[in-house]
């Protein structure tokens, strides 16, 4: 498991510890993210700050994991590096997720959504 999850306030922060979310690990990533968020709090913040590279398979895995959340749960993203942010922006998936510049920003109480 290359995900670390930490409760923060009323939310769960899940930190992706890998440098790449690519086709080679996309299914594992989706399954792991589903496992750590299942029965968790309504708000989940996925910290992608350690991820340097994400391809369309990785993007699909993030979307798939979001769809596996319970109806009352919400997945937000934080800490996207330039390469990761670009994939979300070009595919317009940045309009589907609330995206915070950092994990701390996600808990500032200030709207940082893009």
């Amino acid at each position: 498991m290359q995900l670390e999850s930490t409760p923060r306030d009323d939310a769960l922060v899940v930190t992706a510890m890998m440098e790449r979310i690519d086709a080679a690990i996309a299914i594992q990533f989706k399954d792991d993210l589903h496992a750590v968020t299942e029965n968790g709090p309504p708000r989940v913040v996925l910290d992608l700050s350690q991820v340097d590279f994400l391809d369309s398979s990785g993007l699909g895995a993030v979307v798939a994991a979001m769809k596996l959340l319970a109806p009352e749960q919400k997945l937000e993203l934080a800490g996207l590096g330039a390469n990761v942010e670009k994939v979300f922006r070009l595919t317009r998936m940045d309009s589907v997720f609330t995206i915070h510049s950092t994990v701390d920003a996600a808990f500032d109480g200030i709207a940082q959504a893009s």
Binding site: D22, D55, K67, V87, T91, V96
Partner: protein
């Protein structure tokens, strides 16, 4: 293991098995070779993404039923970018054409959001002069990636 050569015409070529981890390894080796070109971070990001998408497509589609297929990638630096050639011996692309990569519709309920189909959109968005041909049982895909992207 991937076999990487630095050719006389300053091209870079790598041959590797058509499997997901081999794609990752070949991509890492190619990106290391491209360090010699002193590219910007943005250019490197674009190149790595387009190559990853194109190579993953070969593994997931052309070689879907071929466990021991081989992929060849050649990159030639030119005055207006990097010209990339990919060659495999897998099944042809659907209808003999490279997919259009239409953007996915996102104005839908969460449960209907697409989980795939972004790869060709990204390739078409970031690469130029894309050409696909099928010759003698081989798929040949070529495209150019501009440098100094602003």
């Amino acid at each position: 293991m991937p076999q990487l050569q630095n050719l006389k015409n300053n091209s870079f070529r790598i041959t590797f098995p058509g499997k997901p981890l081999a794609v990752r390894s070949a991509l890492a080796q190619m990106m290391e070779q491209l360090n010699a070109l002193d590219l910007s971070d943005e250019d490197r990001g674009n190149i790595e993404l387009v190559l990853a998408e194109a190579m993953n497509n070969i593994v997931e589609h052309a070689y879907i039923d071929t466990p021991d297929g081989t992929v060849e990638l050649q990159i030639t630096p030119t005055y207006n970018g990097l010209v990339c050639h990919l060659r495999d011996e897998g099944v042809p692309m659907p209808e003999g054409k490279a997919p259009n990569g239409s953007p996915a519709a996102l104005d839908c309920e969460t449960e209907e959001l697409p989980e795939g189909g972004f790869g060709w959109f990204l390739i078409r968005d970031l690469a130029h002069e894309l050409n696909y041909t099928r010759i003698s049982g081989k798929n040949l895909l070529s495209f150019r990636i501009s440098l100094n992207a602003k």
